[in-house]
């Protein structure tokens, strides 16, 4: 099946449509909430939470003996939340730094989860097969019910986000100040963290505990490159996430033996790379180009200023001078002189140059001009 066939099939094929919708919605909610994690500098919290969810899945299976997705995810939610509160407790109550607390909880919970998984696998019970799909995810197991759950959670999350937009924004930017205004920052904080945990748990079935944090971070990191507005950043992150879901599913469905979760994550990574290079404001490419252009402009301006310092000693500013006297000054080449003539700053006749009145004023105002440019840059 080729990619085009896939997109034709999405319309008609029920299973494919369900999976595609599921991964798209998942990508959107992860991008949205991932923006908060990135802006709070809690990028790794997502990784720790998703790993911390694994023992919950195993324990839920051991207790109920059934593989009902909702029950397993409830177990994941509980153990993910426990992991989160332990991390926060460690950071506030001990001298441990954030990274240490995250690393500890991540490996401790993941190790315990793996232990339980291997224990379950050794059990004489045919029912246990397939629990390990939560490690790397298996989008093919998504059914309509799962998609409805994801959509409902995304909807609730969106409503809460719109309702508390102002509070989320100020809390993300300046928590201390928010507290002095009388907002309950603990409440806002718990609300954000709870939704992040919820999004992670929803994604476990599709992407798995190991790669889940990439779903949160990649769309948000890519979106940050394109805008300086929080609202647009969150919107773009949701969009990038949804596209990663759709394209990831498309690629994985059109090739045999490509697992969906990792492909989705790789597509999201492509969004990140493209954004880092090509975004106009913060991208590496345009920054480098701007940097080069600025250097060239500065060189011209330095030469102009040197000429100005000579010309200013003459009554007639347009009095010609030999190009030779510029030799004392390193900043010029034939090409720069030509450029300056093009800009109508100087005139060149034979081996002599003379400032034009435009060039003279330009040189006089160079410093002020720079300040003015700065102001009108918006």
């Amino acid at each position: 099946m080729s990619i085009t066939e896939y997109f034709q099939l999405v319309v008609s094929d029920y299973t494919l449509r369900t999976i595609t919708l599921g991964t798209a919605v998942l990508g959107a909610i992860c991008g949205m909430l991932g923006s908060f994690a990135v802006l709070r500098k809690q990028s790794l919290l997502g990784d720790a939470i998703s790993h911390a969810a694994l023992p919950g899945i195993a324990l839920a299976f051991l207790i109920t003996g059934a593989k009902d997705t909702n029950v397993l995810l409830l177990g994941a939610l509980v153990s993910g939340l426990i992991g989160t509160f332990w991390i926060r407790g460690m950071i506030t109550k001990t001298h441990l730094k954030t990274d240490t607390a995250l690393g500890l909880i991540l490996s401790l919970f993941f190790g315990f989860g793996m232990l339980l998984l291997t224990f379950i696998q050794k059990q004489p019970n045919a029912n246990q097969a397939g629990l390990d799909k939560y490690l790397f995810g298996q989008a093919a197991t998504l059914v309509e019910k799962d998609v409805w759950l994801m959509t409902t959670v995304t909807g609730i999350c969106l409503v809460v986000l719109l309702l508390f937009w102002k509070e989320f924004k100020i809390m993300l930017f300046d928590a201390d100040f928010t507290k002095t205004l009388g907002f309950n920052i603990r409440f806002i904080d718990i609300l954000i963290t709870f939704f992040i945990v919820l999004a992670i748990v929803l994604g476990l079935q599709t992407v798995g505990v190991v790669l889940m944090s990439a779903m949160l971070l990649a769309p948000a990191a890519a979106a940050r490159q394109w805008t300086n507005r929080l609202s647009i950043m969150i919107f773009l992150a949701a969009l990038f996430g949804a596209f990663s879901g759709v394209f990831g599913t498309a690629i994985s469905a059109s090739q045999n033996n490509l697992s969906t979760g990792p492909v989705i994550v790789l597509v999201a990574a492509v969004f990140v790379i493209v954004s880092f290079i090509f975004s106009p404001g913060r991208g590496i490419l345009f920054r480098q180009l701007r940097f080069r252009k600025n250097r060239r402009d500065l060189k011209l301006q330095k030469t102009l200023q040197f000429m100005h310092s000579i010309a200013v000693n003459h009554e007639n500013i347009k009095h010609p001078h030999a190009i030779k006297i510029l030799n004392n000054f390193q900043g010029f080449t034939r090409k720069t002189l030509q450029k300056m003539e093009e800009k109508d700053w100087i005139t060149i006749t034979g081996q002599q140059w003379a400032l034009t009145s435009k060039g003279f004023h330009k040189a006089e105002n160079l410093y002020n001009q720079q300040l003015a440019d700065d102001r009108t840059a918006d």
């Binding site: 300046d174 201390d176 300086n228 950043m233």
Partner: protein
């Protein structure tokens, strides 16, 4: 006698075991422009944060015009240290200043045209109106400090707490800021500033508190800003030229 704007009783704050503030009693009269001075680690920022309820003290109480801070929030504005936030946050100067109005709006309600007008006026007052749509990371340190000041002005409070507003700003911005602070005092507001530059204390402020874990002294600059108190606070024989 003047009204007491801020009263602090027996305030003690500790992180872990070591006390950062020890048994502070402080009266700040209404309408003063007060500097809090002391060496690094003296607890200057902590004092402000404890008064504003950002840090929970282990003992003591604070009152603003005779009532607890919770009841008087709208009378108080705060300028945190510039370094306490991430200036790469995706937002504009105007947006940051608007945040000063969030307290009076309360939960959920969004700022409208009235709040925007107030924010623009505050930006104009600090000379930053032409930068209103600038992303905050593209502002210089002095400009960022002015934006923070504008955010506090928008709060339209009676008492202003400022944590090192002169840190890392150039001479022009420093003069611009101090002029605004003096204007606030003229309008009858109380302004409390954590300050580092002892040389400028007599020129800028009329009230001063010496702090080094304990309160060393507090009162009018002309009465208590002397070598004796400086030495007690900084532990060395400190000499400054005081231009009375």
């Amino acid at each position: 006698m003047e009204k007491i704007a801020v009263q602090v009783d027996d305030l003690t704050v500790a992180y872990n075991y070591k006390p950062v503030l020890w048994d502070i009693d402080l009266f700040i009269p209404e309408g003063v422009l007060m500097a809090i001075v002391g060496p690094n680690g003296a607890g200057k920022s902590t004092l402000i944060k404890a008064i504003l309820g950002i840090i929970d003290p282990i003992a003591g109480s604070v009152s603003i015009y005779g009532k607890p801070y919770d009841k008087q929030r709208k009378l108080v504005a705060y300028v945190p240290q510039k370094g306490s936030v991430d200036w790469d946050f995706p937002t504009t100067a105007l947006d940051v200043v608007m945040m000063g109005t969030y307290g009076s709006l309360g939960w959920i309600k969004r700022p409208g045209s009235k709040e925007k007008k107030a924010a623009l006026e505050a930006l104009e007052k600090v000379g930053m109106l032409s930068f209103k749509n600038r992303q905050i990371s593209q502002l210089s340190g002095g400009q960022q400090q002015r934006v923070f000041l504008a955010r506090a002005l928008v709060q339209n409070a009676s008492i202003y707490f400022m944590d090192e507003p002169f840190q890392g700003v150039d001479a022009t911005t420093e003069i611009a800021i101090i002029n605004i602070l003096k204007e606030l005092r003229k309008a009858g507001k109380t302004v409390i500033v954590v300050h580092h530059d002892l040389q400028t204390v007599p020129e800028y402020f009329d009230w001063v508190t010496f702090l080094n874990v304990k309160k060393i002294a507090t009162g009018p600059v002309k009465d208590i800003f002397n070598d004796d108190n400086l030495t007690k606070t900084y532990g060395i024989n400190y000499k400054v030229a005081i231009n009375k």
